[in-house]
Symmetry: C2
Subunit: 389 residues, 2 copies
C-alpha cells in the first residue's frame, strides 16, 4: 500500500502583521481539500506543524485547534507537531505512517506559522528558541539576550566551506538571483522582485559572507497537504505523486554536521532510488550558501562540486537539476513551521505539471530536505522526503 | 498485528523548582528501557508530549531534543507532540499508528513537563494558553491577564452537575480523600499525605465548590512508555498489555461538552469491548468532580449515577470499578504534558500486577481518559485508550 498526495494548498507567504495564522491556514486547507475533491468530514486525522506559536503569540497547548479554528477541518482529530524548521515535514512523516497503518484513509498535514508581530524582538526570540535555551541562559555574558544565532552558525559554516571548496560570495549571490527570479514566477512567494548579483552583494551585511538577501527573512504563511492510501485513491479515482520514502532524523551528540548526509543515504536506500534519478529538489536554504553546500550532503553532487551547480546553470528551472523552483526559503519565504509542508507542496505541484512559468520539464522524482534547530554540534532535526510522479 | 507495551518508567511527580525537565525525562526513559530490556539504539522513533515548555521556559522548536538531551534516546528520530492535557496521550496515539504502519518495531513515548519556576505567574500563564489566547486578548476588561480559567470552567460544570444529580461537595471531598490515600501508596505521587473529607472541605476555596485539594496543582514530572509490534514481542520473548484501541478527538464547534461521550462510544465500538468489561480507569480529574461526572460520559455508569461510585466505595482500589489507583491528577500530580503518558504507565503496571499496595485485583481491561484545553464550548482535545492485560 502506498501513500498518495491528492491535494495541496498554500496561503501567500509574506509579512502580514495583521493576519493571524488561522486565516492563512484556513486558506491553505480550503485550497488543498478542493484540490483533493474532499470535504473536512472525509479526513481522519490532521497534524499541524508549528514551531514558534508559544513564544510569538503566547498560544501553546492547543495550537492545532486554534490554527484550524476557522478552517474546514474544525472537529477532526488533530494534534500539533513541533520539530524546529522540520515541524511540518515531521508532521508529514507521521501522516505517512498514519496512512501506512491502515487506520486512516485520509490524513491532512498543515504547516502554519505567524512570525511577524508589532513586537519585532519576538521573532528573534522565537528563532533563538531553536537552540538549547537553558545552555544559552547559562552562558556567561549575554544574559540570555536573543541574537541572530542561526545566521552566525550559517555564516561560519559558509566560511569553512568557501575555504575548502573555492565557493565565493558571488556564488551565493547568484543563488539568490536565481531564487528571487523563481520567486517572481511563484504567486505565493514572499520575495517577488528579482535581484541581481550586485544587488545581493551590495546589500547590508548580516554576518560575513551573508548579506541580507542571502538570509531567509521572517514571515507568515501556511501550506496544506492531503495524503491518502493508494486503495482510497483507486476507489475514488484520484491521482497524485506517491511517497517513495520519508525519513526523520535527530541530532546525535557527535554528529559533526553529518545529519543530512546520513539521512540522505538512508532515504535513497529505503526508496531504492539513486541520487542520479532525482529530477528536482526543494532544499532548506535558510541562508543561500546551503543551496551550494547541501547538494553535496544529499549525495547529488560530489564533494566540492557544489559551486558547479550554480555556475553551470544546472540548478535553474531549465537546468539539469533544478533546485528550489519555488524560490526556496530565501524567496518563497520561511515561516518556520510552514516550510517543510511548503516544500512538499511545491514538489507535488511540479510532479503534477501545475507550476506554469516555473514548471520543471517532465520531473519524475522530487526530493525535499529540511534541517533545523541546533543542539550538540549540528542541526537538531532533519527530514528528507522522496516523491515520485 | 498488535501494539504491545513492554516497558514503562516514571520520574517522581512534584514541585522540583531546581530540576529541569531533561533530568526527569532521563529518569523515566532509563527506567522504561530497562523494563523493556532494550537499548536506545533499538528504538525507531520517539514522540515527546509537552504542552507548555515555550511559555514556561522559552524553549520551543526543539522541545523533544532538549527534553531528551541527557537521556538514552539522544540521536533517535524524534519530534514533539502538543495537545493540551492530552499531549503525551496524543503522542501515544501516534506511536500506536507508527507501530501499526509496520515501519517501526519499537517506538517510545515520553511525556514531560516542567511547570514550576521561580516565577509563579508563568504556570498560570501557561495553563491559560490552553484557551484561545487571541480571543482572551480581545475580551474587554481583563487586558489579557492570566486567570485560573480552568478552575472557573470546572467549578461551573460541577455546580451544574450538582444541580441535576444531587452530587455534593462532600462527594468531591471523598474523591480527594480516596485519591490522596491512593497517592500515599504510590512512590511517585506528588501528594502523598492522605486527607480526610474534613481536611478537603475546610481547605481554602478556589472557586465554589472547589477547594484547593480538589484542584490538581502545578507540578513537574515525566513518564515513558515503550511500545512494540506483537511480532517483535514474540521474536524477542517480551510480554505486556496490548492496545485494544486508542482514539483521538478534537473539539467540534457545537460540542456541548460531548467530546468525551462521543469518543468513548467510538472507542468501545472500535475495540469490541463493552463498558462492563472495564476493570479499572485512570481518568482526567484536573478537578475532583471529574471523577464523579466523567464515568457517566465514559458510559461506565448510567446518567446521574456518578455519585454512587464514590458513595458505594466502587471506585476504591478494592472496589468494583477502581478509578485513579495512581492517585489521579489531584494526588499523583498533573504536569500537563506528562499526564496522558502517566495514566497509561499506571494502567500498564496495574495490568501487569506490579503495583504493590495499590494493586487492583486481577484487572483485565484498563481505560485511560484525558481531555483538556478549551475552545468553542468544550474541551479542545480528548484521548481514550483501552489496554488489555
Amino acid at each position: 500500500m502506498e501513500t498518495i498526495i491528492i491535494g495541496t494548498g498554500s496561503s501567500r507567504f509574506g509579512m502580514f502583521v495583521d493576519t493571524p495564522a488561522r486565516t492563512l491556514a484556513a486558506e491553505a486547507v480550503a485550497e488543498a481539500l478542493k484540490d483533493a475533491g474532499l470535504e473536512g468530514k472525509d479526513v481522519g486525522l490532521v497534524l499541524v506543524g508549528n514551531a514558534v506559536g508559544g513564544v510569538v503569540t503566547g498560544q501553546e497547548m492547543i495550537r492545532s485547534q486554534t490554527i484550524l479554528s476557522q478552517s474546514l477541518l474544525v472537529g477532526r482529530p488533530m494534534a500539533a507537531v513541533e520539530n524546529a524548521c522540520a515541524s511540518s515535514s515531521s508532521a508529514f512523516y507521521l501522516a505517512h505512517l498514519a496512512i501506512q497503518s491502515g487506520m486512516h484513509d485520509v490524513v491532512v498535514v498543515v504547516g502554519a506559522e505567524k512570525m511577524t508581530s508589532t513586537d519585532r524582538t519576538l521573532a528573534t526570540k522565537a528563532l533563538a528558541a531553536a537552540t538549547d535555551v537553558s545552555l544559552r541562559q547559562e552562558a556567561a555574558g549575554d544574559g540570555g539576550k536573543p541574537r541572530p544565532v542561526f545566521m552566525e552558525i550559517y555564516a561560519a559554516n559558509a566560511r569553512n566551506y568557501m575555504a575548502r571548496s573555492g565557493a565565493t560570495a558571488e556564488d551565493f549571490a547568484d543563488v539568490v538571483a536565481k531564487n528571487t527570479r523563481n520567486g517572481s514566477l511563484n504567486p505565493i512567494a514572499q520575495v517577488k522582485v528579482p535581484l541581481s548579483r550586485e544587488d545581493v552583494l551590495n546589500a547590508r551585511e548580516i554576518v560575513a559572507p551573508l548579506t541580507r538577501p542571502m538570509c531567509a527573512g521572517i514571515g507568515d504563511g501556511a501550506a496544506a497537504i492531503v495524503l491518502c492510501s493508494s486503495g482510497f485513491a483507486r476507489a475514488k479515482g484520484k491521482k497524485g505523486p506517491k511517497v517513495r520514502t520519508s525519513l526523520l532524523a535527530s541530532a546525535e551528540i557527535e554528529d559533526n554536521h553529518e545529519i543530512v548526509s546520513r539521512t540522505a543515504a538512508k532515504a535513497f536506500e529505503a526508496a531504492g532510488i539513486s541520487p542520479e534519478d532525482v529530477s528536482l529538489v526543494e532544499l532548506h536554504d535558510a541562508a543561500a550558501p546551503a543551496e551550494i553546500m547541501v547538494p553535496e550532503e544529499l549525495l547529488l553532487v560530489a564533494q566540492g562540486d557544489g559551486p558547479s551547480l550554480i555556475r553551470s546553470g544546472a540548478s535553474r528551472i531549465d537546468g539539469r537539476l533544478p533546485i528550489n523552483p519555488s524560490g526556496g526559503l530565501t524567496a518563497r519565504g520561511h515561516p518556520v513551521g510552514a516550510t517543510g509542508a511548503a516544500q512538499i507542496v511545491e514538489l507535488a505541484n511540479q510532479l503534477r505539471g501545475r507550476c506554469g512559468p516555473r514548471q520543471v520539464a517532465n520531473p519524475r522524482i522530487g526530493l525535499a530536505e529540511n534541517a533545523g534547530g541546533s543542539i550538540f554540534n549540528g542541526a537538531a532535526a532533519c527530514m528528507i522526503t522522496l516523491l515520485e510522479a
